[in-house]
C-alpha cells in the first residue's frame, strides 16, 4: 500500500486516495476542430511509460483536492507530489498554493 503525500494534508495511506490517470492530458480548446484521429488520440492514448509517470490523484477521503504525483512505475517510488493550481491557497502566505499549473490552460 502506497504512502502518498497529499500536498495539503501530508503523507496518508493509499486507501484515502483515488487514482485519476495520467496527468497533463489537456482538453483541446476546440474539440470540433479536431480530426477523428486527433480526438481519439486525446481520448484513448496514454504514454504508459516504464519509469517516471506523472499522474493525477485525488485525496478522496481527505481534503478532496486533486494533485499531481510523479511515480516510478517500476519501483513505485514517488518522487514528488505537487499542487495543480493556485486557485486555493492553504497558507496565508501562499506557500502551499500556486505551485504549478498541472493542466488545462489552453481553453
Amino acid at each position: 500500500m502506497l504512502l502518498i503525500e497529499c500536498p495539503w494534508c501530508g503523507p496518508r495511506a493509499e486507501t484515502e486516495f483515488s487514482y485519476g490517470g495520467e496527468a497533463g492530458i489537456f482538453r483541446p480548446a476546440d474539440p470540433h476542430a479536431l480530426s477523428d484521429a486527433e480526438w481519439a488520440d486525446y481520448l484513448f492514448y496514454r504514454s504508459n511509460p516504464r519509469g517516471t509517470h506523472r499522474e493525477l490523484w485525488n485525496h478522496a477521503q481527505g481534503c478532496r483536492r486533486w494533485f499531481g504525483v510523479e511515480r516510478d512505475t517500476v519501483s513505485y517510488r514517488i518522487k514528488r507530489t505537487y499542487c495543480l493550481s493556485g486557485a486555493s491557497g492553504g497558507q496565508p502566505d501562499g506557500s502551499a498554493g500556486g505551485l504549478e499549473a498541472g493542466s488545462g490552460k489552453r481553453r
Binding site: 502506497l2 470540433h32 480526438w39 478522496a60 488545462g104 481553453r107
Partner: protein
C-alpha cells in the same frame, strides 16, 4: 506419563512439565506439555509417520522445527473452527487439541494411494500437464479422484465463529525476527527512544538462543534473551509481538504481520497488523538445507538443527541411534547434543575430506566416529529409517557410487548448509547475491528502507550475529533520522573455529540419476532430481519455468527447504553457475495466512457499510424487505397481509396511478454548486442548455463521459443566479462529485465554483399521484401549488406542514408529483405527517420495485441499468437533450464514426409475444428463431405492468429504432426462443399529459 511420551528426555527443555496437555492425533490420545508445539509433542509421543506424500503416497515424518516444515501438514480442530494446513511445527500445543493428518486418504497407516508409489516413475515432471489436459472432457474425472486422494486439509464446515481483527500501526523501526540479531537491533532502537515493533513467529523470543548452549555476557544465552525481552517490554513505545509472522513486505515500507493470539475460541483468534515502518530490520535468521540422496524422504531423516531444537528446547529425543550427515560444521553440534542427551551417534558422515573444525574435535572427544570424505547415499527402511548406506565421496555429483556399507540407525540428521531467509528482503524488491564461499544467496542492495542482519545476512556465528544486529539497528536509526544511544554488543562465548562448507548438491547413487531410487528436492510436491533433469531435457531453462513445470516450491512451505537445492541441481544440469540460474520470485505470504485474518472484522453486518436514510426506521417497522443499492439499503416494497412481491408491487403501482403514493428517495446524490462561474461550469458538464433555465426552474440533466457515453443523470435546479442544486443517481453520487471536482481543479481552475455535497443533509420524499397536490394543500403550504403558479419542473423553497422544505414539481412516475427536500433531522416527522394526512387518499408507501415499474411504463431510463458505459444519449433516443449551441463534455465523441453507425444498439420497448412472460433482465435477443441466430441485443429492464395488464420490457437492440414493429426473439434457457415485438419505449401516457395537470 513416561509411557505416553517415550521420547521425552527426563529433564531439560523450555517446557512446563507440571502442565501436561492432552491432545489427539488421528484419533489417538497423546500427551505433551505446555510449551510444546504439536510437532515436539508428536515426536515425544513416538509418532513418526504423519502423512503421505502428495503425489507418490510415500510415508512422511517431521523434518524441521519451524516454518520450513514440508511434511507435517495438519488439520487442526473440527467443524466450523477447524484449521486446515498449518505445519505441526507452528501449532502451539493446547489442552484438548485435535489434529488429523491432511494427507493419506483414507488413513496414514493404510493408504490405497500407496499403490501409486509403484507408478511413481510415470508421475514425473509435467505429469499433470501431459496427462490431465487430454482428453479435456475427462478432467472432471481426474479432478475428482485427485482431490479425494491427494488433497491437503479440508475446508471448515460452516462459518468460522471465531473473531479476527486488524490493527494499524506505525513505527520508526520494525524488527522482523527476535533472535540474537533482532533482539540486538530492537534493543538499540528502543534505548534510542525510537518507536519499535519487534515481531517473531515463535511464541517465545530468542530464536536460536532458546536451543543454544552458548553464553552471552557470561550467562546462558537464553537468559540474555529473556533479559532483553524484559527491557524491551518496559520501554515506552516498544511493542512486542510474539507468535507473529511478518509475512508480507509491500510497497512504501508497509508490512503485514499475522499474530496468532491464542488457542481458538478465546477472544481474538488472529490479528492482522498493518504496519507502516520508517525503517525495517530484517532478522529472520536462516534455514538449514537438507541433503539430496536416495530415499532422503524417509521418516527419521531430519534437519540437524531441528534435532538440536527438539532436544534442547523441547526435551525430546528424536532418535536412539543416529547418523549425522553434513557438508559443514554446524551439524556437529547436533551430534554432540544427541550424544549428551543419551543417544548413540553411530557416525558423523562429513563429505569434506578435511572434516570439521573445533566442534569436530569436541564430537570426537565424546567418542563419536567421524567419517571424513564420505556421504550417505541411500537409506533403508520404509515407515522409519532403519539404516544408512555410506559411500566414499569423490567430489562429483553425477556418476555413480561403487560400493556402500550400511550403518543401522533410526535417525539421519542432515545439514547441507544454510540459506538466509531472504524472503522479505526480496518481496521488498531487494537484490540477492550468490556467495560462493558461504554457498548461499545473501541479501544485496535493498530497494526499500530495510536492512538485513544476523544469520539472515549470512552471519552464522553468534558474536558476529549480535554485532550485525547492533549495526543494523544503528543504521536503521540513522536512516530514520534518529539519534542513536551508545550501546555495545554483548560478549558472546567464543564461537568454535570452523572449517568452510563445501558444495554437495546431490549425492550420486548406485545407478545413474534418472534410474536410482528417488532423490527428493521438494518433499511437499514430491519433486525429485530426476524431475528437474527431465524438465531441463525437455527444454526448460528458466528457473521460473522449471518451477511451474515441476511444481518445485509451490507448496504451503513455498520451497523453504528445497528451492536452493533445486536451483543448484538445475544449474548443474544446465552446466551454469548457480548465480546465473538465480532464484524464483518471492511474493507474500512468507507463510500461509488464514482467510479469517485477511477478512478481519469485515464480515457479516460489518462486511460493508450499510447506509440508511433518515426514514429507515419507519421502513423497518413497516416490514419492508430491503434492496441493496450501492451501500444503501432501500425499501424494496411494502407488503401487506402476507402479500408477495408481485401483489405488493401491483397494488403500489395502481395506488400511484389512481390516487397517491409516497416514496423515500433520499439516497439520490445532491450537490450544491455555486459561484460566479457555476453556470459556465455546468454548461460544460451537462448536455442541455443550462443558461436557458430561469431561477426556480428544474431540468432533467445528463452527463456524458468524454467518450460520449452516458455517465449519470438527474434533475438539477437553478436556485439562484449563481447557484444550482444538482441531483445524481444513488450509486453515482460520490463518483460524480469527484469527477466534477477533477474538471474544476485540473482542467478549469480559472472557474470559480464551489461544490458541496448535500446528500446526507437533505432527505427526499417523492409524493406522486393525482391526489398529491391535494395532500400538500391539506398539510398547509405557504406557497400556492396550482398548475399556473407552480408549474411542472418548477422549484420553490416553502414551508410545508410548518416545516421548511424545498419543493420540486418533478415526476419520475409520469403522474402529478412533488419531491420534498427536507433537513434529514425532520424527515421522519414529515414522512409521518404525510402518512397521517394522506389516509383519506389511501396514501401508499412504495419501494424501489414500484418506482422501477412506474418509470419503465413511462420509458424513463435508469443510468447504470439501461446504460452500461457503452450507450450514448442518441442510442437512447434522447437527442433532444443535446444542445446544438454549445460544447459539452463528450459532444465531440458523438461524431466519431463508431457513434454514428446506424446498427448501434438502440433503446426500444419490447412486448413479449405471448403477452404474459416477463423476460428476465439480461435476456439475449436474436434475430430469428433458428438455433444459431446471431445476437442482436439484450433486455435492460423488464416488469409486469399492473396498470397495463401485461409485461413490458426495455431493450437495447441493434438498429432498433428503425425496426419498430418487427418481431425478434428472446433466447430463454430451456425454452424455445420467444417472439417479441419491438415497440416505442413509452408504454403509458405517451403524450405526458398526466404530470402536467
Amino acid at each position: 506419563m513416561a509411557a505416553a511420551q517415550p521420547n521425552r528426555l527426563p529433564r531439560g527443555g523450555r517446557i512446563d512439565r507440571s502442565r501436561p496437555l492432552a491432545f489427539s492425533f488421528d484419533g489417538k490420545a497423546l500427551e505433551g506439555f505446555a510449551g510444546d508445539t504439536l510437532a515436539s509433542a508428536l515426536l515425544a509421543g513416538g509418532v513418526s509417520v504423519l502423512g503421505r506424500s502428495f503425489k507418490l503416497r510415500r510415508p512422511r515424518g517431521i523434518v524441521g522445527s519451524g516454518a520450513e516444515e514440508p511434511n507435517a501438514i495438519m488439520q487442526i480442530g473440527e467443524g466450523a473452527t477447524a484449521q486446515p494446513n498449518p505445519p505441526a511445527t507452528q501449532v502451539p500445543l493446547h489442552d484438548g487439541l485435535t489434529a488429523r493428518s491432511t494427507r493419506g486418504w483414507p488413513g496414514v497407516r493404510f493408504d490405497l494411494g500407496a499403490v501409486n508409489g509403484a507408478l511413481g516413475r510415470m508421475l514425473g515432471a509435467g505429469f499433470y500437464y501431459k496427462t490431465f489436459m487430454w482428453p479435456r472432457s475427462w478432467w472432471k474425472h481426474y479432478e475428482h479422484a485427485i482431490r479425494k486422494s491427494a488433497g491437503f486439509g479440508r475446508v471448515p464446515e460452516g462459518p468460522d465463529p471465531d473473531r479476527y481483527e486488524h490493527m494499524n500501526a506505525h513505527c520508526d523501526v520494525l524488527v522482523a525476527g527476535g533472535g540474537p540479531a533482532g533482539l540486538m537491533a530492537a534493543l538499540v532502537a528502543a534505548r534510542s527512544g525510537a518507536r519499535v515493533i519487534l515481531a517473531d513467529e515463535q511464541n517465545e523470543f530468542g530464536g536460536s538462543l532458546l536451543a543454544s548452549g552458548a553464553r552471552i555476557d557470561a550467562a546462558p544465552a537464553s537468559d540474555w534473551a529473556a533479559a532483553a525481552v524484559v527491557e524491551l517490554r518496559e520501554t515506552q513505545d516498544c511493542v512486542l509481538l510474539p507468535s507473529s509472522t511478518v509475512f508480507g513486505y509491500h510497497d512504501h515500507n508497509f508490512l503485514t504481520i499475522a499474530e496468532r493470539c491464542g488457542p481458538q475460541g478465546r477472544g481474538v483468534r488472529e490479528r492482522l497488523w498493518r504496519v507502516r515502518a520508517k525503517q525495517v530490520v530484517l532478522a529472520q535468521g536462516s534455514l538449514e538445507r537438507p541433503l539430496v540422496f536416495c530415499n532422503n524422504d524417509r521418516p527419521g531423516v531430519m534437519l540437524a538443527s531441528a534435532v538440536s531444537t527438539y532436544i534442547q528446547r523441547y526435551g525430546v529425543l528424536p532418535g536412539r541411534r543416529a547418523v549425522v550427515f553434513t557438508n559443514n560444521d554446524s551439524a556437529y553440534q547436533a551430534a554432540i547434543n544427541l550424544a549428551v542427551a543419551g543417544a548413540e551417534v553411530a557416525a558423523i558422515v562429513d563429505s569434506r575430506a578435511g572434516g570439521g573444525g573445533e566442534l569436530a574435535a569436541g564430537a570426537q572427544s565424546l567418542g563419536i566416529p567421524v567419517l571424513k570424505g564420505h556421504v550417505v547415499s541411500d537409506v533403508a527402511g520404509r515407515r522409519r529409517v532403519a539404516g544408512a548406506r555410506i559411500a566414499r565421496w569423490e567430489g562429483r555429483s553425477w556418476g555413480t557410487v561403487k560400493s556402500t556399507t550400511r550403518i543401522d540407525c533410526d535417525l539421519v540428521a542432515v545439514s547441507g548448509g544454510w540459506s538466509p531467509a531472504v524472503h522479505l528482503h526480496s518481496q521488498a524488491g531487494g537484490q540477492l547475491a550468490w556467495d560462493p564461499s558461504k554457498l548461499c544467496f545473501l541479501p544485496a542492495k535493498a530497494r526499500q528502507a530495510n536492512v538485513s542482519a544476523g544469520a539472515g545476512n549470512g552471519k552464522w556465528r553468534l558474536g558476529e550475529c549480535l554485532a550485525d544486529g547492533l549495526r543494523a539497528g544503528v543504521e536503521a536509526l540513522s536512516e530514520a533520522g534518529l539519534k542513536t544511544a551508545a550501546v555495545r554488543a554483548p560478549d558472546a562465548s567464543a564461537d568454535a573455529e570452523e572449517k568452510m562448507i563445501e558444495p554437495l548438491w546431490r549425492v550420486p547413487a548406485a545407478k545413474d540419476a534418472d534410474r536410482c531410487p528417488m532423490q527428493f528436492i521438494d518433499l511437499q510436491n514430491d519433486t525429485t532430481v530426476a524431475d528437474i533433469r527431465l524438465a531441463a531435457r525437455e527444454g526448460y531453462r528458466n528457473v521460473e519455468h522449471v518451477k511451474r513445470y515441476t511444481a518445485l516450491g509451490f507448496g504451503t512451505d513455498q520451497g523453504k527447504l528445497g528451492n536452493i537445492n533445486g536451483m543448484a541441481v538445475l544449474a548443474d544440469t544446465l552446466g551454469k553457475p548457480i548465480a546465473d540460474v538465480g532464484t524464483t520470485t518471492f511474493r507474500p505470504a512468507y507463510t500461509p495466512v488464514s482467510f479469517g485474518v485477511c477478512a478481519g472484522e469485515s464480515t457479516g453486518p460489518l462486511y460493508d457499510p450499510v447506509r440508511t436514510s433518515a426514514i429507515h426506521e419507519w421502513h423497518e417497522a413497516a416490514g419492508a424487505p430491503m434492496e441493496t443499492v450501492g451501500q444503501w439499503h432501500r425499501p424494496w416494497y411494502f407488503p401487506q397481509d402476507g402479500e408477495d412481491i408481485q401483489a405488493a408491487v401491483a397494488r403500489e403501482c395502481l395506488a400511484v396511478r389512481n390516487s397517491l403514493g409516497v416514496m423515500d428517495a433520499s439516497t439520490l446524490g445532491k450537490i450544491d454548486a455555486r459561484g460566479p462561474d457555476a453556470l459556465e461550469f455546468l454548461e460544460r458538464i451537462y448536455t442541455h442548455d443550462v443558461a436557458r433555465m430561469k431561477v426556480g426552474r428544474c431540468a432533467y440533466g445528463m452527463m456524458l463521459g468524454e467518450d460520449g457515453m452516458v455517465m449519470d443523470d438527474g434533475v438539477m435546479a437553478r436556485t439562484a443566479e449563481r447557484g444550482f442544486y444538482l441531483t445524481t443517481t444513488t450509486g453515482g453520487a460520490a463518483a460524480v462529485l469527484e469527477w466534477m471536482e477533477k474538471w474544476l481543479q485540473t482542467e478549469w481552475p480559472e472557474l470559480e465554483v464551489y461544490l458541496t455535497s448535500l446528500t446526507d443533509h437533505y432527505s427526499t420524499i417523492a409524493v406522486a399521484g393525482p391526489n398529491s397536490r391535494k395532500l400538500l394543500e391539506k398539510l398547509g403550504c405557504d406557497t400556492p401549488l396550482d398548475r399556473e403558479r407552480f408549474a411542472f419542473m418548477a422549484m420553490k423553497p416553502a414551508v410545508l406542514a410548518g416545516m421548511r422544505v424545498a419543493l420540486f414539481r418533478v415526476s419520475f412516475s409520469g403522474e402529478l408529483a412533488f419531491e420534498i427536500n427536507i433537513d434529514s433531522r425532520h424527515a421522519l416527522d414529515m414522512w409521518r405527517t404525510l402518512m397521517e394526512a394522506g389516509k383519506e387518499f389511501c396514501i401508499t408507501p412504495y419501494g424501489t420495485e414500484t418506482m422501477h415499474v412506474l418509470r419503465a411504463e413511462k420509458g424513463f431510463i435508469i443510468a447504470g441499468q439501461d446504460t452500461d458505459g457503452s450507450v450514448t444519449p442518441v442510442d437512447l433516443g434522447m437527442k433532444w437533450l443535446l444542445s446544438k449551441e454549445k460544447d459539452f463534455l463528450g459532444k465531440r465523441s458523438l461524431e466519431r464514426p463508431d457513434c454514428l453507425r446506424d446498427d448501434r444498439k438502440q433503446w426500444v420497448g419490447l412486448l413479449a409475444g405471448d403477452g404474459r412472460t416477463v423476460l428476465p433482465e439480461g435476456t439475449q435477443l436474436v434475430g430469428d428463431s433458428g438455433e444459431a441466430a446471431p445476437m442482436c441485443g439484450h433486455v435492460t429492464s423488464s416488469y409486469f405492468s399492473a396498470c397495463l395488464g401485461h409485461p413490458i420490457a426495455l431493450a437495447l437492440v441493434a438498429g432498433g429504432r428503425r425496426r419498430r414493429g418487427e418481431t425478434i426473439y428472446a433466447a430463454l434457457p430451456g425454452r424455445k426462443p420467444l417472439p417479441a415485438q419491438i415497440v416505442p419505449p413509452v408504454f403509458y401516457d405517451p403524450k405526458g399529459k398526466r404530470q402536467h395537470v
